[in-house]
């Protein structure tokens, strides 16, 4: 890998100036490298982080299992990585005008990395630097402990999609400390309402009494007086409050964090080194989480800006047609398929226009008349400001669900494309399935990265067993992976592990044929939509043996 030449660097600096003037914000320094095919071979398994730790699986082709189920949502071939300074990668022989376009695109990404709040936890440090020291540590451990290090990496990676990312990020965005104590919040919000289920009159009386106490004795003394009375009335309050606090802090932890803190096996003196390896895997996963969750926005934002800024750039006169061709290739809406560049860019443009006309306002929403709605234009001049806010505060899920509305669908002729089997012609048919915004949002949501939500159940974890509960979201887990994943957890936990999850009850009669691969011989008229029935299932991994037990059928 080598840096781009001075000429190209100068172009980049010019792009930075223009991007700043347009309102993008990013740090001054950046590093641009030329990558060859060889570099890519080494970089891609490491998700373009040159200093990521070594792991043998990186040397083997990893089966992506496309079509069957989506395994690895992250595409490793990104152009720019979220480091300090940001590092971006380029083809050797791009012409200048193309570099201008790509530089703007890259600056769009950098602006997104450094301003979108979902990246908040990556702002304070340089990931490549961190990764380098981690890589050295792992190499050193490997020379001491041998292949055991690779097992720890393997088992940790097996659960690295169960990190409590949102919890991690939310720590940066706590509302400025609430004016009331936690104890009071718990008493009024949880204890009285959910546990004691007092009626409104009594509830209001308690609030009255609290205010009275504060008035007579001042803030701190007043609260003490108030709770002295409470404990007289509910002697068990203190115990419940304490227990609740403990439980909450444990359940908020992700599985890996919990193992790190509470696994007897890992906390033995001779095994403590394993924890540092696990920490590395956990940190790496947390680092990449926001990237997966903002793909549409990130690409849309970068595409929006490369288009705007390129067209304004005075240095590239004469290459408008070249640009148009490349740009269309990148941002054209496909007839069938979901292109994050195209969708994200159009959505940003649409939001800007809508906000410019003041349509995201209460006034506009009150208008019922279709003609008026169409003509409405408050000329707010706040379109740009609005999309900058969107880029700061949303992720893909919120972006799509808030702004992908029917007007947007109609404006760009979008639809949900379905695919079905035509038995007579033996072809897959693509057809327009729906033009409803609701369906479209659902379709996009289904493709978004969404790891299973698996939590500890402290109540059922006893006698050293770890009891995991997979929250039901009408999706089963990939069954063939359960055994090895649980084996890894058992290894790290040191005792048996149980997993409660939901599975589809295998259908009998006609639909049994559905489970066979290939076209089914059932005539078309006999086919109805089979109703999917679910059952709760408990897997137990004990001494590297997996057993399965059906708990109950769900309705």
């Amino acid at each position: 890998m080598e840096l781009i030449d001075q000429h190209a660097k100068q172009i980049m600096e010019g792009c930075k100036e223009r991007a700043r003037e347009a309102g993008l914000r990013f740090q001054d320094e950046s590093l641009e490298y030329i990558v060859s095919n060889r570099d890519l071979i080494e970089l891609s398994p490491k998700i373009m982080i040159p200093t990521l730790y070594d792991y043998w699986v990186h040397d083997v082709e990893v089966l992506k299992g496309r079509g069957k189920y989506e395994l690895y949502p992250g595409n490793p071939y990104e152009t720019v990585i979220n480091t300090r300074p940001p590092i971006s990668f380029y083809n050797d022989n791009n012409p200048d005008w193309l570099n201008v376009m790509i530089f703007y695109h890259v600056l769009g990404h950098i602006d997104f990395f450094q301003n979108n709040l979902y990246f908040r936890h990556t702002w304070e440090y340089d990931f490549t630097g961190q990764a380098l020291s981690d890589k050295r540590m792992i190499a050193k451990l490997r020379s001491e402990k041998g292949r055991q290090v690779d097992y720890i990496i393997e088992f940790s990676r097996a659960i690295d999609n169960l990190v409590a990312y949102h919890h991690e990020v939310s720590r940066y965005h706590q509302p400025s400390s609430s004016s009331f104590s936690q104890r009071l919040d718990f008493y009024l919000d949880v204890f009285l309402q959910n546990r004691e289920k007092v009626n409104i009159g009594e509830y209001v009386k308690e609030i009255e009494r609290y205010n009275e106490c504060i008035r007579s004795y001042g803030k701190s003394l007043g609260e003490e007086t108030f709770f002295a009375e409470v404990e007289k009335k509910y002697p068990h309050f203190r115990a419940i409050y304490e227990k609740n606090r403990e439980k909450k802090s444990e359940e908020e932890q992700d599985l890996m964090q919990y193992l790190l803190n509470h696994s007897e096996f890992l906390n033995k003196d001779e095994n403590k080194w394993m924890k540092s390896v696990m920490e590395v895997i956990r940190k790496t996963s947390l680092f990449f989480q926001p990237q997966i969750r903002t793909k549409i926005m990130n690409e849309g934002w970068a595409s929006y800006w490369h288009e705007v800024l390129f067209m304004q750039d005075d240095r590239i006169k004469g290459h408008e047609v070249d640009f148009a061709r490349v740009n269309a290739g990148v941002t054209a809406m496909q007839r069938v398929g979901l292109n994050p560049y195209a969708l994200g860019m159009r959505l940003f443009q649409f939001i800007e226009e809508t906000a410019e006309k003041g349509k995201y306002t209460f006034d506009f929403r009150r208008i019922r008349d279709a003609g008026q709605r169409k003509e409405y234009d408050a000329a707010t001049g706040k379109g740009k400001e609005f999309i900058f806010k969107v880029r700061e505060n949303l992720n893909d899920f919120l972006f799509i669900n808030n702004f992908c509305d029917q007007d947007f669908m109609d404006h760009y002729d979008l639809f949900v494309a379905g695919k079905r089997l035509n038995q007579e012609k033996m072809v897959w048919e693509y057809f327009v399935k729906s033009r409803k915004a609701e369906e479209y949002r659902k379709m996009v949501n289904d493709t978004l990265y969404h790891p299973p939500h698996i939590q500890l159940d402290m109540g059922k974890s006893n006698e050293g067993k770890l009891y995991l509960v997979h929250r039901f979201e009408e999706k089963p887990l990939v069954q063939e992976f359960i055994a090895n994943t649980m084996m890894g957890i058992e290894y790290l936990w040191g005792s048996p592990v149980q997993l409660e999850t939901a599975e589809v009850i295998p259908a009998r009669s006609p639909s049994a044929i559905y489970s066979m691969s290939g076209p089914s011989p059932v005539p078309a008229d006999q086919r109805g939509k089979p109703k999917i029935k679910w059952q709760r299932v408990l897997y137990t991994m004990e001494k590297r043996k997996l057993t399965r037990r059906i708990l109950y059928a769900m309705d």
Binding site: V60, G74, I102, R335
Partner: protein, 466 residues
């Protein structure tokens, strides 16, 4: 042979077998195989299928399939030559063995990947692969519906906007490699594969035979002599020349009393050794690949046998470069030679089973072409173990004849399931005692339907180890 003629011939043969006496189970096997179609067609080429469909919409992509480097910068995905980036297969399998020792399940799969190529010419490459197991969501889907994607443009709800042909899946007796592109493609990827198989395997019992074939490789050696200049002075030869020159000049009157001080040295007397290209010669070998493509081979057995033969074939291509000749023979009740590996690999299964026919054909070819004198002969045969000729009355004599000249006969049995005593072929081979008596010349490897690729490689080791 036409299908009708084929049927007729089959019926005659079945009659003959009945005459000899058959058990009910054997009848059943024969009935199943004779009922099916008796034609071994080649799969339609993928390229043709593609051109029929014409404008098919490109397969819908998901949002995570897009990446800046490819999409924006138009870079091509890195071509990973399996020799540069992969450690050798052996090393990986070794690691896997250690895993087993540590009490964890194996993780490396030696799988065949289909790499989509341009114009429907997919290419198969064999690479070690693995998966990273995690808790992932699986999707619940009705198979007739292929999932949803985004779309844009015109069209009423419900309107069909494009079609995509379904490739014939595990259909009527398909050979492996449905639509793999031209034979050339096959060879080049096979070559890639041979390289990973490492150079650890060697053809056993290789003997000096026949007019040796030259390799296209050259070795460089200081064997050529050159007058006047060169790399190293050949002192002995030079001295001889000097003496000769001086005899002619009359400077050497008395042989018993030589005075070298008076010698004259002509410039042409100096003899040098010069670096020269030498052709390398090696014994030549002929390898016969035999495959049972009868109806009972449908599915997994064919896949296993063919995978193993792909591996052996590609290893030969690589290891012995071009001096190993390969011949390909397919048989049901009748054996025929096919011209290339591609045909061998792709022909569909159908018809009955008579193993001896293939062995007889090999014997005939060897005899007629007089190959024994000039070639080291290897025979690899793949079958599911069924044979209508139940006690090997016809097969065993042919095999005996074959091992009288062959350097190694390797028989792979990919059995449908394990049964006491094994399959017919196993039974009569064991009974004949050849496997024990001539273990140097004939080997058998039995695997079952669930064998994976590393098991197949194990099998090759059994077949060709010394």
């Amino acid at each position: 042979m036409k299908e009708s003629a084929m049927k007729e011939y089959l019926n005659d043969y079945v009659e003959e077998l009945r005459h000899r006496g058959l058990t009910a189970a054997q009848e059943e096997i024969i009935r199943r195989e004779t009922e099916g179609p008796q034609i071994h067609e080649m799969p339609e080429s993928a390229a043709a299928a593609d051109s029929v469909s014409g404008r098919k919409p490109s397969a819908p992509q998901r949002i995570y399939d897009f990446a800046d480097l490819f999409f924006l910068q138009d870079m091509s995905p890195p071509y990973i030559s399996h020799t540069t980036c992969l450690r050798s297969l052996d090393e990986l399998l070794e690691r896997d063995k250690l895993r087993e020792k540590d009490g964890f399940p194996r993780k490396i799969r030696v799988g065949r990947l289909i790499k989509p190529g341009k114009g429907g010419k997919d290419k198969i490459v064999v690479v070690p692969t693995t998966v990273e197991e995690k808790f992932y969501h699986d999707s619940v889907r009705v198979p007739e519906e292929g999932g949803e994607a985004g779309g844009s443009g015109e069209g009423e709800e419900g309107e069909v906007i494009g079609e995509e042909p379904i490739r014939p899946q595990d259909g009527a007796g398909s050979g492996p490699g449905e639509g793999e592109g031209g034979p050339h493609e096959m060879e080049s990827s096979a070559y890639d594969l041979g390289k990973i198989l490492t150079e650890k395997f060697e053809l056993p019992n290789l003997k000096d035979k026949g007019k040796k074939r030259s390799l296209t490789r050259y070795t460089y050696d200081m064997t050529d002599r050159h007058k006047g200049f060169g790399q190293v002075l050949d002192k002995k030869a030079t001295l001889r020349n000097i003496v000769e020159t001086n005899i002619h000049l009359g400077n050497l009157p008395d042989i018993d009393n030589i005075d070298p001080t008076g010698f004259l040295i002509s410039p042409g007397d100096r003899i040098y050794r010069i670096l020269s290209r030498e052709k390398d010669y090696e014994s030549q070998a002929m390898v016969f690949f035999l495959r049972d493509y009868s109806g009972s081979m449908m599915g997994k057995p064919t896949e296993l046998v063919v995978s193993q033969h792909v591996l052996i074939y590609s290893w030969l291509l690589y290891q012995y470069d071009k001096q190993v000749e390969s011949r390909f023979i397919l048989h049901d009740t009748e054996a025929k030679e096919v011209k290339d590996f591609y045909t061998y690999y792709n022909s569909r299964v159908a018809g009955g089973t008579k193993v001896s026919s293939a062995f007889r054909l090999v014997n005939t070819i060897v005899e007629e072409e007089n190959l024994i004198k000039d070639y080291n002969i290897y025979v690899f045969h793949g079958t599911d173990g069924d044979d209508w000729d139940t006690d090997g009355k016809e097969s065993v004599p042919e095999i005996e004849k074959m091992i009288s000249y062959a350097n190694r006969v390797g028989i792979t049995v990919a059995a449908h399931s394990s049964s006491p005593g094994g399959t017919e072929v196993e039974k009569y081979l064991n009974k004949s005692g050849l496997l024990k008596e001539k273990s140097d010349l004939i080997r058998m490897d039995v695997m079952y339907k669930d064998a994976d690729e590393s098991r197949i490689i194990e099998g090759i080791k059994t077949l060709i180890s010394q």
